[in-house]
């Protein structure tokens, strides 16, 4: 059984990483980091509330992001709007399986997986579920690492819209789902950032 820094009254600054002794303060006073002057606390403040708020908002926006069209390729006046999923299917049937897999992972698997893992981690903390702490930490590191790759689709849209801009011959237009999807990506990034993985380990100390 290890002793946590919190049990010894040591807090780590969220900005600069300096460890300092945090005295037992009243409700209204704040201690600040001796190195960089940021307010100190043992854990990220309101970590769970913030993560839940961002996660719920992201789930709500996941629906329009997947139902509405995200991209329309028009060549010679013809072209159907594509949703994220139909774009992947089109790539798959035109024998571009590798790219289809990359787009599927970045635009569908990553956001959904990220939200599912975040919900699991938050439930573990809130309901004190007896899941392996080490595995939960690995999951957290995983979503922290893969989150940014969801931006892939948005960058690709920006590239295609500019590249294929040939008047009557061929154009690419972005759809309303692009904005919704961008919001999902940003919200999941914020949700993962506001979650404090130390809360998982704190369960063992109680």
């Amino acid at each position: 059984m290890t002793t946590s820094a919190q049990q010894r009254g040591i807090a780590r600054c969220t900005e600069c990483g300096k460890l300092s002794h945090l005295p037992d303060l009243g409700d209204n006073s704040v201690a600040s980091c001796p190195r960089c002057n940021v307010a100190l606390s043992f854990r990220k403040p309101q970590s769970l509330q913030r993560s839940w708020a961002y996660t719920v908002a992201a789930i709500a926006l996941l629906l329009p992001a997947n139902i509405l069209p995200i991209l329309t390729v028009i060549s010679f006046g013809q072209g159907d709007p594509d949703t994220i999923m139909s774009g992947v299917v089109k790539l798959w049937v035109s024998d571009l399986q590798a790219i289809a897999a990359i787009v599927f992972i970045a635009s569908i698997a990553v956001p959904v997986l990220k939200l599912v893992i975040l919900i699991i981690l938050m439930l573990v903390v809130q309901l004190q579920l007896p899941l392996n702490r080490q595995q939960c930490t690995v999951l957290y590191r995983f979503i922290h690492f893969i989150g940014r790759w969801s931006m892939l689709d948005l960058f690709m849209i920006s590239i295609l819209v500019t590249l294929v801009h040939l008047g009557n011959i061929a154009t690419v237009e972005s759809g309303p789902a692009a904005t919704a999807f961008a919001a999902v990506v940003v919200l999941t990034l914020l949700a993962a950032n506001s979650f404090d993985p130390r809360l998982i380990w704190d369960l063992d100390d109680e």
């Binding site: 960089c36 790759w149 590239i159 819209v161 294929v164 237009e173």
Partner: protein, 180 residues
């Protein structure tokens, strides 16, 4: 030697003495490469005699005029402002440490550098170029242009300058040498 967290096994501390020379050099090279990387055409596309091309900055501009303003701002942040500020602040921080001269805003610079680093997503943009290339392969002639090479070199600089930068060491250096 290194110290690890007894619970989650994350590395907490290294005994090796680091040098930020590579980080500094990579940041300077990245800043030099920045202008060509964002303005030169990345891909060229031609279809029945008509040609089109795109650059990083052109892509953001087109999103903006096509009323995708939120998206344009997000792409501007992740692919242009964040990498640029990350390199600039890395160079400035390394220079301050080298000259042993710490302006009053040094702690803020160090914090902004970390924030910018977390929003810099050039490696994802590079993957976006590959996906766009393959996607349009069947519809017309796509070719890689100068901007892609500059962008790849820039990406290498961004990775090197963040890999060889040691934040804790920079903080400690400032703490020991800051003007009273």
């Amino acid at each position: 030697m290194e110290g690890r967290c007894p619970r989650c096994k994350a590395v907490l501390w290294h005994s090796a003495k680091h040098t930020d020379t590579i980080s500094f050099a990579a940041a300077i090279s990245g800043l030099i490469l920045f202008y060509p990387a964002i303005t030169l055409p990345i891909l060229k596309f031609s279809m029945v005699g008509q040609n089109g091309s795109n650059s990083l900055i052109g892509g953001i501009y087109r999103m903006w005029i096509e009323q995708e303003k939120m998206l344009a701002i997000l792409i501007l942040l992740c692919s242009l402002i964040a990498p640029l500020m990350h390199l600039l602040l890395t160079a400035v921080v390394c220079l301050s440490i080298r000259l042993n001269h710490f302006p009053p805003h040094f702690p803020q610079w160090l914090k902004y550098k970390c924030w910018m680093q977390s929003w810099s997503m050039l490696e994802v943009y590079a993957m976006g170029i590959i996906v766009a290339y393959v996607k349009m392969m069947h519809d017309g002639d796509v070719s890689v242009s100068g901007g892609t090479y500059c962008l790849c070199a820039l990406l290498l600089c961004v990775i090197l300058s963040s890999q060889y930068f040691y934040e804790e060491q920079a903080w400690q250096h400032w703490e020991q040498n800051k003007p009273a």
